[in-house]
Symmetry: C2
Subunit: 194 residues, 2 copies
């Protein structure tokens, strides 16, 4: 039955609350999980649309952000600077998308899968803006938690700048924030110079 | 500066990730926090709109749900069945709304405050549907986690039925789910009869 399938999906994605990211909360108490992260960037999407590179359909952006990480229920969160993990990430996440969105009734499966694909492909103004928020939220938390995650992994300033390129593409109005964060983080020793 | 105010709000609401609810995750591992809950019901809003009492503006519902709990950063989560806590809840949450939405630039402060007021007042189709989701998500988690929170507080079936009335008003198509959950939960001893 249609409603049973919808509820099965809703219960399945409850597991996203147990998928830990490397990002640490601003109060430095613990790692953030992927559902909290998804909530945070969905709120940001409404607040920061004036900085997007092009006018965006905010509803589409928010719906995209709300489900962009649900594949991690199966595939886990892959750390941005983990080369080995990133080599298999696409394959693992595609299989997860098939299974998890496959729980939904056909029309909603197609709609949500299209949102997920759009986010991954980074071609539309909506997905570019969404990816910009996804990146800058991590930088904000990494900086305001005292650089714990960056220091732990010995991340260099240039790695963060490279990782943040989607901000320049999708929300150029927020690029000065990235530059300020990376500059101050380097001064404070949260990031290694160079 | 406008962007600084927006970032201050974004960093402030990070604290919602540390506000614990009484609801337990479906894997029974720990209590849910209010940011995870907000994410979950925002996803549900897109999926379950066909069960709403009247056609709704889904974007407005989702934006409402994303911020409906941010006042808990100051006011904490008040347990649904805590009479003493609920006596002071309105006052505490109004002060919190003034302070937290007050961090935003004036236009966004008004917009988000209006969304929060609308949710609380439960008058529009959007806020009735949003409140229905807020209630039924808790019932789903309480049931699928093995009734831990209900058993811990000795909750009666009639209390849950009463608490779930907004589901009947805002999303009558989901009322059979409430009846099924309460029936099975009573059979299993998660809820006290009567």
């Amino acid at each position: 039955m249609r409603l049973d399938d919808q509820l099965a999906f809703i219960l399945e994605i409850d597991k996203l609350k147990s998928v830990q990211r490397r990002t640490i909360l601003t109060d430095a108490s613990r790692a953030e999980n992927s559902s909290e992260h998804s909530w945070h960037i969905a709120v940001m999407a409404g607040l920061l649309q004036e900085y997007a590179a092009a006018p965006v359909d905010t509803q589409r952006v928010i719906q995209m952000l709300l489900v962009h990480d649900v594949v991690e229920v199966d595939a886990g969160d892959t750390y941005a600077y983990d080369a080995a993990g990133n080599a298999t990430k696409v394959e693992r996440e595609l299989a997860a998308a098939d299974r998890i969105f496959g729980l939904l009734p056909p029309d909603q499966r197609l709609h949500h899968r299209a949102l997920w694909d759009e986010f991954e492909e980074m071609r539309t103004p909506e997905s570019r803006y969404a990816n910009a928020l996804d990146r800058i939220q991590a930088a904000l938390l990494n900086f305001h938690s005292g650089g714990i995650a960056w220091r732990q992994h010995g991340i260099r300033a240039s790695q963060v700048i490279e990782r943040m390129q989607p901000v320049k593409d999708g929300a150029p109005g927020l690029w000065p924030v990235v530059e300020r964060i990376v500059g101050e983080a380097t001064e404070k020793g949260y990031l290694t110079e160079g």
